[in-house]
């Protein structure tokens, strides 16, 4: 079974319905947003549901995850966002930390 690509597909399944309710609860609990009238001249960015069944390395089912994502590609530089930057450790750093931990006999979490 592949993961649903669209809301309409997922809406028919109980497990995905539950996952979407979970995600909405978590968003509201975090105080992510506030309901307002769209001011004149502003555009609202569309949202999309993304569905993913999570498995562990042994291939056994872990959970159904529904994630709400903004269609960030519709954002315009200077209007909807100014700067972007993502911090990503290079793999060499990760390997270095692991090598050091093994050398010093430290546990890694």
């Amino acid at each position: 079974m592949s993961d649903p690509l669209y809301y309409e597909e997922a809406a028919e399944k109980e497990e995905w319905q539950k996952a979407m309710v979970e995600e909405m609860k978590s968003i509201e609990k975090n105080g992510t947003w506030k309901m307002v009238d769209l001011p004149k001249g502003k555009k609202a960015i569309g949202l999309k549901w993304v569905f993913k069944t999570k498995f562990d390395a042994n291939g056994s089912l872990q959970k159904h995850k529904a994630r709400l994502v903004a269609k960030g590609y519709a954002q315009q530089h200077g209007i909807d966002f100014e700067e972007t930057f993502s911090p990503v450790a290079c793999f060499e750093t990760v390997r270095l930390v692991l090598a050091l931990a093994a050398q010093l006999q430290w546990p890694v979490y």
């Binding site: 975090n30 307002v36 903004a70 960030g72 972007t84």
Partner: protein, 229 residues
């Protein structure tokens, strides 16, 4: 907190009755927003600095904190994945409770899986491999049941830019080579052959594709390989 004013529509299936024309004004970032990674980073960076963790000058995702004379904790961020190691169980507990309280993080047990990397910690040694990633890669190219090869490359094979061979599917080749490059993180034994085949992204022929398949057949027979530290 979000610096720009961003509005989003109500999500499908959760449009509030009577308020169908309203939208949400974002106070915090949402996945997919252009500023989401930056906001997350500045939040966690600010927090770690406040708590006395020092950021590395050369690797902005690496933080170290020293406690007393000999105790250290090292933290490595990868967006919302974090690995950390320490000489002191006290520093571990402190960091763990900080993260769980401040960022509602869960599952902070011993490291087993990180960015497709499988990690086994046994006494004073650590083993990393990409076994699951490798079998997924073989699957994706329909090579799960291929005949394993003993070596990743033919001896004295001379691949050339324009070998006049029949043209091959460039898109699938790029995806295959990309997959193999990611695998070199735990497989230095294929680094040379992957380096050689990655030079033929343009004008590739069936011969180049064959060389890539040879690497695939080699990893099919050596799924369990990885690095011991």
């Amino acid at each position: 907190m979000l610096q720009e004013e961003v509005y989003v529509t109500q999500p499908k299936g959760f449009v509030k009755e009577g308020n169908e024309t309203k939208v949400y004004k974002l106070k915090k970032a949402l996945y997919g927003l252009k500023q989401a990674p930056r906001m997350w980073y500045s939040k966690i960076d600010g927090y770690l600095k406040k708590k006395g963790y020092m950021r590395s000058e050369n690797e902005p995702t690496l933080y170290v904190k020293k406690e007393g004379k000999n105790d250290f904790i090292i933290i490595c961020l990868y967006v919302d994945d974090i690995i950390y190691t320490s000489s002191s169980i006290f520093l571990v507990h402190e960091f763990k409770s900080q993260m769980m309280n401040e960022f509602e993080m869960s599952d902070m047990g011993l490291l087993h899986y990180f960015l497709g990397l499988e990690v086994y910690q046994i006494e004073d040694r650590i083993f990393i491999s990409q076994r699951k990633y490798t079998s997924d890669l073989l699957n994706k190219f329909g090579m799960s049941n291929c005949k394993p090869a003993a070596t990743p490359m033919n001896l004295n094979e001379k691949l050339q830019q324009q070998d006049g061979g029949e043209k091959a599917d460039a898109k699938s080749f790029r995806s295959l080579v990309g997959g193999l490059i990611y695998l070199t993180h735990t497989r230095p034994d294929i680094a040379f052959s992957v380096g050689v085949i990655s030079r033929f992204m343009q004008q590739l022929s069936k011969l180049h594709y064959g060389a890539a398949k040879k690497v695939m057949r080699y990893i099919a027979g050596t799924l369990e390989y990885g690095i011991w530290y």
